[in-house]
Amino acid sequence: MTRDFTCIVCPNGCDLTAEYEQDAKGIRVLRVTGNLCSKGDTYARQELTAPMRTIATSVLVEGGTAPLVSVRLDRTIPKERIFDVMAAIRRVSVKAPVVTGQVIIENVLGLESNVIATKDIAAK
């Protein structure tokens, strides 16, 4: 069997084709073509077996010069957990000052990914 993907790793957006076998034991990827680099190969294999994503959003700031600080995950999480992680992020707020790289939630939902600030917000 084959499946086509658009690689999302970088702006090249390679058109990937993965050849794979599927049976009761799961999916075995035989070959990936169309990728300009090895990341495309990894991406297609992951996409077929356990798709991973990162998200970027924002967190409320108390006493800051801006109402929000932008945040992102420092490692990818399973795609099907995106909305769980969004809900966890929505529950927190942070006191100013906030600095870029500051960990806002450590190991969010035990997924081995930290929610980190991507902006400096000074205290008011």
Binding site: F5, T6, C7, I8, V9, C10, P11, G13, D15, R53, T54, I55, A56, T57, S58, L60, A66, P67, L68, S70, V71, R72, K79, I82, F83, M86, T100, T118, K119, D120
Partner: protein, 410 residues
């Protein structure tokens, strides 16, 4: 009036990158004038990641990418005067700006224009209907949500498949809105394939090509729109109309370089890019006035904005020292399938960077740069998309004489 070697109009990614590189080349008398309260430009609200893969070999969010350049500029002590709107740049390089403390007037030896671009609005595409609240551009929606902490709607339709529109489709979905669909009037998407994948397909948001909005309804607040398929001349096809109930319509229908100051300075604009005509030094048709980034031509990636701005520093430094640059007498013509090029003309004395976009989607094609019968460069490409910039380095040693160049993709 005060003096400065260089005045940079706009403290976004292009302006900051140009300032840092100029400083490192020994031009330290620099002033950046920035309209907003903080430098960083539009990147401040672009909180998604994917920036910096080309420039820094890692994926950063917009604010993190901007911070790298803001920090470098600060480390060098380059002054950035914020809350300052430049209202005039003259051909003899007097820059006039409005600031709360009064007017700022600077006589510069060189001026670098890095004002970026702005979004096309409903007015630019003339959608019929009422004029309710809830119709806004993708960048405005992004500022409300990512900077102001204001959610803008619950039932959303997006017109235009530009990258910011798709990124906002994902952003609004994450924040709990229901994004019904993205409609694109062209037969091909305007944004990058990876954004169709990770912003639309990931969230089950359909993209309809060759469709447009033909009616907007609602008094006070938007209540619904009508969408129709369009023919090859982009005219709505009668009988294909479909109504959508929604409270928000987001427009992602193109970006226009912000060139009022460029025109005021007397620089000629290229109707193809809607930015200035430039030589390989990014110098406009007014000597000593340079332009880079989205004010020159709309880029796909900020990485290329920074690189273009850095590349102009050498020429600008030479202009400041010598008062002139080699005359650019060789034109670069857009051949088959090429929409525009930057630069549009060159001196022929220096190797240079060439950026271009193709007009239509092509697979297994070849790009050729030629000078009459003489071929300077060919590049085979698996695919070429109008959404993606193509970047090439041209070696000056390959040039033969002073005949004009032509770039084509077939």
């Amino acid at each position: 009036m005060r003096n400065a070697d260089v005045v940079i109009v706009g403290g976004g990614p292009a302006g900051l990158a140009a300032a840092v590189r100029l400083y490192d080349l020994g031009i330290t008398d620099i002033v950046i004038l920035e309209r907003e309260h903080q430098p960083g430009g539009i990147l401040k609200q672009c909180i998604h990641d994917g920036f910096g893969l080309t420039r820094f070999k890692e994926t950063l969010s917009g604010p993190e990418y901007a911070k790298r350049f803001v920090d470098e500029a600060q480390k060098r002590g380059i002054p950035c005067i914020t809350d300052t709107t430049v209202i005039d740049v003259s051909a003899d390089k007097v820059v006039t700006a409005a600031h709360a403390d009064g007017m700022i007037v600077i006589q510069a030896k060189a001026v670098i224009l890095t004002m970026g671009c702005r979004e096309r609005t409903r007015g630019a595409i003339s959608i019929p209907g009422t004029r309710p609240a809830g119709v806004m551009t993708a960048g405005v929606a992004q500022a409300y949500i990512n900077l102001q902490n204001r959610m803008i709607g619950k039932e959303v339709v997006i017109l235009g498949s530009g990258d910011i529109g798709m990124i906002m489709a994902r952003r609004m979905t994450l924040e709990g809105a229901h994004v019904q669909a993205v409609f694109e009037v062209l037969p091909t998407p305007s944004g990058l394939p990876r954004n169709i994948e990770q912003c639309l397909n990931d969230y089950g948001i359909p993209l309809y090509l060759s469709h447009t909005v033909t009616d907007i309804r609602g008094e006070g607040r938007l209540t619904g729109i009508t969408v129709a398929a369009v023919d090859e001349r982009m005219q709505p096809i009668p009988g294909t109309e479909k109504d959508y109930d929604c409270d928000t319509l987001i427009l992602s229908v193109g970006l226009i370089p912000e060139n009022e100051l460029t025109i005021g300075a007397g620089a000629e604009l290229d109707p193809k890019t809607k930015g200035a005509f430039v030589d390989e030094f990014c110098q406009t048709t007014v000597p000593g006035i340079f332009a880079a980034g989205n004010v020159l031509h709309v880029h796909d990636l900020v990485d290329f904005v920074s690189m273009e701005a850095e590349s102009l520093a050498e020429g600008a430094a030479e202009y400041i020292k010598n008062g002139s640059l080699p005359k650019a007498g060789i034109a670069i013509a857009c051949g088959e399938n090429v929409g525009h090029t930057i630069p549009q003309r060159i001196s022929g004395e220096k190797s240079f960077h060439l950026s271009l976009r193709v007009r239509k989607v092509m697979k297994e094609c070849t790009l050729t740069v030629s000078q009459g019968e003489h071929v300077l460069l060919t590049r085979k490409m698996k695919k070429a998309l109008p959404a993606e910039m193509i970047n090439l380095n041209i070696d000056a040693k390959k040039l033969k004489g002073t005949d004009d160049l032509e770039v084509k993709v077939v």
